[in-house]
């Protein structure tokens, strides 16, 4: 579904990702690594919020290395950024409706589906999103991304700063979204143990390079931890 070949990317003159190769199929794919390893840079590069310095980026066989971010959304990629992932001055319902620009089903049915999946935010549908807790905000961001009817969701450290209750809840929802909608999920996470509970494949980044790429079933925690020791 998603293929990266020799991707180099970064901020200005600073190159963060160095020749990253990655293939994501219809699966939950965990991206792990220490702070500064390049997880968020990878997500932002795939979402075309950062320019690709070198390499090829293909989605469902189509070269998307240079397409605009808004075109990617139309093709079926939705991103949930780590921070600033809601529109605080809009209500929960308005946030969700912004995710329904493309797709086949009605806006209302998609928003209702999100409310079914996240009953906590259904009760706050007409409340400004900026007044929600961190966990509820993440649900809104998840829900909006899901309302886009994506083929691939990019989740950038969605559990950062959340209580254990919300961490478990959100990762369970990630599994539900994948199982019931067949959505491929690329999940960047700090919490390796939790991420491995839901993922079927794992990539470990270390200083912007691929340290490990293998099925979770064939990987032990010790091998992953090697990528954290620089």
């Amino acid at each position: 579904m998603l293929e990266l070949r020799g991707i180099r990317s970064g901020y200005g003159d600073v190159t963060i990702l160095k020749d990253v190769d990655l293939t994501v199929e219809a699966e939950i794919f965990a991206v792990l690594g220490a702070n500064g390893a390049g997880k968020s840079t990878l997500m932002r590069t795939i979402a075309r919020l950062l320019a690709v310095e070198a390499g090829d980026l293909r989605f469902r066989g189509e070269d998307v290395t240079a397409v605009a971010p808004n075109r990617l959304a139309e093709m079926g990629i939705s991103l949930v950024p780590q921070e600033a992932n809601i529109f605080p001055n809009l209500t929960v319902r308005e946030n969700l409706s912004l995710g329904t620009m493309f797709g086949t089903r009605s806006s209302r049915s998609r928003i209702d589906e999100v409310f079914d999946l996240f009953p906590d935010i259904a009760a706050r549908a007409d409340q400004k999103a900026g007044s929600l807790s961190g966990g509820e905000s993440q649900m809104v961001a998840f829900g909006r991304a899901l309302a886009q009817e994506p083929r691939l969701m990019l989740l950038d450290e969605p559990t950062t700063g959340l209580s254990p209750k919300y961490v478990n809840l959100l990762l369970e929802k990630v599994r539900q979204i994948h199982d019931s909608h067949g959505v491929a999920i690329l999940l960047a996470e700090q919490n390796a143990v939790k991420a491995l509970e839901v993922a079927s494949r794992v990539l470990v980044l270390s200083l912007g390079k691929v340290y490990l790429d293998s099925p979770v079933s064939e990987t032990d925690l010790e091998a992953i931890q090697g990528g954290y020791h620089i």
Binding site: N70, S97, L98
Partner: protein, 299 residues
């Protein structure tokens, strides 16, 4: 009642109404779409002068001159918008401020077209009967009301939500599939063209068009009014103008007997009060009187 509406009263009220329209259009640009337009006077003044030049120098028929003037402002704002659409706020501020200054300078220096500081005139009312000023005020009021109603409604539409989303988080909005640049350009051109339209309606109110009419004070007055009233609220411009320009340029100038030797002092006091009002508003109600107050402990 109309006995109270002397020609001076109508002039003052028409001026106030023009500012309400400009401040409300600025609300659409800045409060809703996040475009920092510091060239308000440029678009308004260009509409006013383009209309005056076409009507007087080229003797173009009245309605056609208005239409062409608005088209000129729209074309210029499209060009400027195309340049600034993806720039950051500071760059947009400087670019639009420069545009306003350029318009003022060109009006002053291009005497062959604008008559320079001597003034271009006289711009007639469309109805040159005794009630011309009254009708112009009615038309300006109707246009201003339409702009305010449009501003109040657009915020509740999907397009308004999209503009608000773009203002709050443009990369995220782009990631949702929104072509934010195109939407930003569209609202910029429409609102600038309307500023030009208000300029064409203001031309006969001033009668003689001189460069001092289109100084930076027009832009700053509209900005101060909007910030005091509430930049995010569609009625923010209305309230802001009522508390600033209406009080000083209409109530005090019309009804407070200020001796002529102190007339200049009133202008100075006005500037000081505007400044103090702005500081107090920003300190205690950063989103204006119609916006939410500052939360306790946030300072």
């Amino acid at each position: 009642m109309f006995d109270l509406l002397t020609s001076y009263t109508l002039f003052s009220l028409s001026t106030v109404m023009g500012f309400v329209a400009l401040a409300t259009l600025l609300h659409l640009q800045f409060g809703l779409a996040g475009i920092v337009n510091f060239g308000v006077v440029g678009f308004w003044g260009l509409g006013m002068y383009a209309f005056g030049v076409l009507l007087i120098q080229f003797e173009v028929p009245y309605p056609l001159a208005m239409l062409l003037a608005v088209a000129i402002v729209a074309a210029v704002s499209l060009l400027i918008g195309w340049v600034i659409v993806d720039l950051n706020d500071q760059a947009v501020l400087v670019a639009t401020l420069a545009f306003g200054t350029i318009v003022t300078s060109l009006v002053t220096t291009e005497k062959w077209l604008t008559e320079g500081v001597v003034g271009l005139g006289s711009v007639p009312y469309p109805v040159e009967t005794g009630d011309g000023a009254l009708w112009q005020f009615v038309v300006l009021t109707a246009v201003t009301a339409a702009i305010v109603i449009y501003a109040a409604r657009i915020a509740k539409t999907p397009y308004g939500r999209l503009l608000a989303a773009k203002r709050d988080n443009e990369p995220l909005a782009r990631g949702l599939g929104k072509n934010t640049s195109r939407h930003k350009l569209t609202i910029f051109v429409i609102t600038c063209a309307l500023m030009g339209f208000v300029g064409t309606l203001s031309a006969p109110v001033h009668r003689f068009l001189t460069p001092d009419l289109i100084g930076p004070g027009v832009t700053f007055s509209a900005w101060i009014a909007l910030i005091v009233g509430g930049k995010r609220h569609p009625l923010g411009g209305v309230l802001g103008v009522a508390l600033t320009i209406f009080v000083f340029d209409f109530v005090i100038e019309t009804y407070v007997p200020v001796p002529s030797e102190h007339a200049a002092t009133v202008t100075v006091i006005k500037t000081i009060v505007y400044g103090v009002t702005l500081i107090v508003a920003l300190m205690f109600r950063p989103l204006g009187l119609l916006g939410p107050g500052r939360k306790r402990g946030s300072r």
